[in-house]
Symmetry: C2
Subunit: 65 residues, 2 copies
């Protein structure tokens, strides 16, 4: 499923996928694929994204069921 919370947090910070990717140190495609729910990212990458966007893991990657 798509990660809409991640996309929202990114646009709230006024960052493009490419800009966020450069901050985190991955490729633009990786960010795009995570947002579109086609990748299962590593924990360290999730943490890097969270820190770049001033959020926590629960904020961006946790889904209640």
């Amino acid at each position: 499923m798509k990660n809409i919370k991640l996309k929202l947090a990114r646009v709230e910070k006024d960052l493009s996928q490419d800009e966020l990717a450069k901050i985190v140190g991955v490729s633009r495609q990786t960010i795009g694929l995570i947002e579109s729910g086609k990748y299962n990212p590593s924990l360290s990458l999730c943490v890097g994204i969270c820190k770049a966007l001033s959020r926590t893991l629960d904020d961006l990657f946790w889904e209640e069921d």
Copy 2:
């Protein structure tokens, strides 16, 4: 670095590494390596572990700095 919070949550539930591994659907070694900090697990595995231990991502995998 070792993930002591994960190990504590596991023993609080009275589960061995092998038992947790079976619940989550991975090998015993994978759980051991995550606890000892030698693996960078995938997000879906982290979520599976959290649900098996009734915790959230922030509980087990987030470190303030």
